[in-house]
């Protein structure tokens, strides 16, 4: 296959990936716009897409600042959660005792609704970005932990034996075998956590952030509701979704770069 036709097929490949969802989105927006024009509900209940777009344009500086604030809290929370999740997951995978003792508790803690304990975070971390980050960490840590644990426990016993025959230390076995073996699974967990971290950050902002010169997405939503600016709420929610999508995309990209050469999931 020559260079040009290969490039052509790649372009067609990404078009294949993008065009169907794009079509669906455009159709949905058209239907939404049409329904709003037809039934004319109050702007306060459901704004039309064009109204949301207008709100986005008018408040773009505030929205950009909000996206940056929420996005950076979520990203920091995500990184902390990734570190804690991989570390704890590795520890649990290494010790049957820890695993038996801690994993059920971790699973139970995971069931505690964040929204219910978010006000407590304010008590512990105070108003401000620390509560936001803590909230992001709490929601995104479990998927990474579970994925790390599962990935490591599924290590090929033949390879474990190979390491044992060569008298590998525990640390060598972890670093050179179990961790790389678990990476496909960890990447899957991280992708789930990336999206969750934005949700966690916004919940944290609802209860624990304050409005300053610039407000994060959570505060923007709350104050837009108070001002009956539903169009701005929709705009802020869209921005939050984009932030989540961007984080997810970055994690997927890093995962793909790590795995593309040897793992089928990146093919």
């Amino acid at each position: 296959m020559n260079e040009r036709s290969r490039r052509g097929s790649t372009v067609r490949g990404s078009a294949d990936a993008i065009i169907p969802p794009l079509t669906v989105v455009v159709v949905l927006l058209l239907v939404w716009q049409g329904a709003v024009s037809l039934f004319a509900p109050s702007e306060f209940l459901v704004p039309a897409p064009l109204a949301v777009a207008r709100a986005m344009g008018e408040s773009r500086n505030a929205l950009l600042a909000a996206a940056w604030m929420t996005g950076s809290s979520a990203a920091i929370g995500f990184l902390i959660a990734a570190f804690i999740g991989v570390t704890l997951g590795s520890m649990l995978a290494a010790s049957r005792f820890l695993m038996r003792g801690l994993y059920p508790i971790a699973t139970l803690l995971q069931m505690v609704p964040l929204v219910a304990i978010a006000p407590l975070l304010v008590v512990w971390c105070g108003y401000g970005v620390r509560t936001t980050i803590a909230s992001a960490v709490i929601v995104s840590v479990f998927p990474v932990l579970a994925a790390t644990l599962d990935g490591m426990r599924s290590t090929d016993p033949g390879l474990v034996e190979l390491f044992a025959i060569n008298r590998a230390s525990r640390v060598q076995r972890w670093w050179k075998l179990e961790l790389p073996w678990a990476i496909p699974s960890i990447v899957t967990g991280l992708r789930i956590s990336a999206g969750l971290s934005v949700i966690g950050a916004i919940v944290g902002e609802f209860v624990g952030a304050f409005a300053g010169d610039q407000s994060p997405v959570g505060i923007l939503i709350v104050s837009a509701i108070r001002e009956n600016r539903t169009d701005l709420v929709f705009a802020a929610v869209s921005v939050a979704a984009m932030v989540g999508f961007a984080l997810f995309g970055m994690v997927s990209l890093v995962g793909w770069m790590l795995l593309r050469r040897w793992h089928a999931s990146a093919a």
Partner: protein
């Protein structure tokens, strides 16, 4: 320096009561190449693992005799039926793994692994990932990794069981030449009578239920090369091995 390996009434009864091996005795001269052959479940893998210290016997013992009645601990390497390569490492890094785990400096291990890869005919594949190799090439990499530590004892459990017959013949030739060049003691397990007869200086026939040694052959051939497999002398020896195997199976059924 290892002089001989003595297996004395080796037995292994598994926890579920299965007698995988009932009192096998065998003496292996250092530098010899021995092949264990027998039907599935006759305790070949069990015996090999006992020799390599991956498992402990429930009776009897394995003794490694050195010079002047001293006991020694030989450097031992394994190769298994599956190549057991790490899919994220290049072939070179896979072969260097045992040296890396033993703390050998980077430059030295790269040099030794490269030399061993060349020796098994994978000089050009050093930078490839295992996923890019054929089954036979993966097996060569696995053998190279076993030999990179310069073991005194090489234990092979059906190493070429998963490759096609033509590739297997080439691998058998490679094994023979590595053995005569490096001089380590080799114990290999196989299902294939042709492979056993071709590779083995000594062929040990085993039978199941309970696992035991039933016969032994020392095929003497003037010249071991691919053409040997088609000669009448070779066919005569394989027939004898086959007969021994058949007799063992009949005994079991009566």
């Amino acid at each position: 320096m290892l002089q001989r390996i003595e297996l004395s009434h080796l037995g292994r009864v598994y926890e579920d009561g299965c007698v995988a091996l009932a009192g096998a005795s065998l003496e292996l001269r250092a530098g010899s190449i021995t092949v264990l052959v027998g039907p599935s479940g006759c305790g070949k893998t069990t015996l090999l693992r006992l020799i390599g210290g991956l498992d402990a016997p429930t009776s009897g013992r394995v003794l490694f005799h050195g010079a002047e009645g001293l006991l020694v601990q030989p450097r031992t390497a394994f190769a298994f039926q599956e190549p057991r390569l790490l899919p994220w490492r290049t072939v070179l890094a896979n072969v260097a793994l045992p040296l890396e785990l033993a703390g050998v400096p980077v430059a030295e291990r790269a040099e030794r692994a490269t030399a061993m890869l060349k020796r098994v005919g994978l000089g050009n594949a050093a930078r490839k990932l295992p996923g890019q190799l054929s089954g036979g090439m993966r097996m060569r990499a696995s053998i190279a990794r076993a030999l990179v530590t310069a073991p005194q004892l090489l234990l092979l459990d059906e190493p070429f069981g998963a490759v096609d017959e033509i590739a297997r013949h080439a691998l058998d030739d490679l094994l023979r030449s590595l053995w005569s060049e490096l001089g380590m003691t080799v114990v290999m397990v196989t299902h294939s009578i042709v492979e056993a007869t071709y590779v083995g200086e000594r062929v040990v026939v085993m039978a199941p239920a309970p696992g035991r040694i039933v016969a032994e052959f020392s095929p003497q051939f003037m010249d071991r090369s691919s053409a040997l497999r088609a000669t009448p002398e070779f066919a005569a020896v394989t027939a004898e091995v086959l007969r021994a195997l058949g007799e063992a199976m009949v005994e079991e059924h009566s």
